[in-house]
Amino acid sequence: MASSLKLAAQALAVAAVVGLLALLVWKVTHQPGSGVEKALSAGRHPPAPLFTLTRLDQPGKLALASLRGKAVVVNFWASWCRPCKEELPVLEKTWREYRKQGLVVVGVDAQDFTTDAKRFARKYGITYPIVHDAPSATVDRYGVTGFPETFFVDREGRLVGAHIAGSILSTSEIKAEFEDSIRRALRS
């Protein structure tokens, strides 16, 4: 009786440890966005994680899927982020310059107050669509770790070109990567 109870307790303890270990492994292997970064680094073109987010520039929502057939620059930003402010004029210029060729810039504002983001967009004269990622779910799916970060989506909805973590103006090489990625997104 005593030995069978002892055995059952030991089995229970081992099961608890195995369960916690499995939970840890699951959590580590399911880190959001890690797949996107890995695929891009390996030169692959994974489908861009889809999102449907509330627009800040006008009422309603914007779905990435609705932009299929267009090249999309997805720029993650926040109003409190200084490098984001610096690159906004370049993004606005890009949007105005390439929109007739079928390019859309989408600003994904995250970890930010919507009032701040709206005020900011007005102040800097942004005319491209701006959405708010309230629960940061899109930020997680893209594996964004800081602001700004920029991704490029081709007309078929795949991520192409570079994943620019940081300002697109930080170096001349990154600026060149930005322009090259736009060309690649438009080419498909």
């Binding site: 409190w80 970890q111 309230a134 940061s136």
Partner: protein
């Protein structure tokens, strides 16, 4: 048994004793309290340990909402609407977050159960002590002889 009963009654008693303070804190929260309960979304520490731009902005928001008379829950709800549930330092009471709330409790209860069972099992299986010989009762002859021999050896 009395100790176990005391242990069971202690948490509800403590909860009752601190209820008025908790109610006051809910109605009139302070920035200091909320700073320990709200996360800085970029640095992943609580607000009181961060001086990042977004943390400063959130502090301004909290101060404004306190001044406007919002309760603690209202301020937290507004922050969650803007930043998502990850803005709160405590895990949510649903989904995966429930594990963080209930796992330690379950572990504690399981431990308490195991200790109780072990004590009960130990007390039942311990061999009963034999009755003490009444005072003055004669020793067994063999033992008495050995005791006499030892005493004689000591005297010699």
């Amino acid at each position: 048994m009395r100790r176990l009963l005391l242990l069971c009654l202690l948490p509800p008693a403590l909860a009752l004793a601190t209820a008025p303070t908790a109610r006051a804190s809910e109605q009139h929260p302070t920035l200091g309290e909320l700073e320990g309960e709200v996360m800085c979304p970029t640095c992943h520490t609580t607000l009181d340990q961060s001086s990042s731009p977004v943390a400063d902005r959130i502090r301004v928001f909290i101060r404004a909402r306190i001044a406007a008379g919002d309760t603690r829950s209202e301020i937290k709800s507004k922050l969650v609407a803007q930043f998502g549930p990850a803005i709160l330092a405590a895990p949510p009471h649903k989904g995966f977050g429930l594990l963080a709330w209930w796992l330690p409790m379950a572990g504690l209860l399981a431990g308490l159960g195991a200790v109780t069972f072990a004590v009960w099992h130990w007390s039942r299986t311990r061999a009963p002590a034999g009755p003490a010989p009444p005072p003055g009762e004669a020793l067994e002859p063999d033992l008495e002889r050995r005791v006499d021999e030892e005493l004689a050896r000591l005297d010699a």
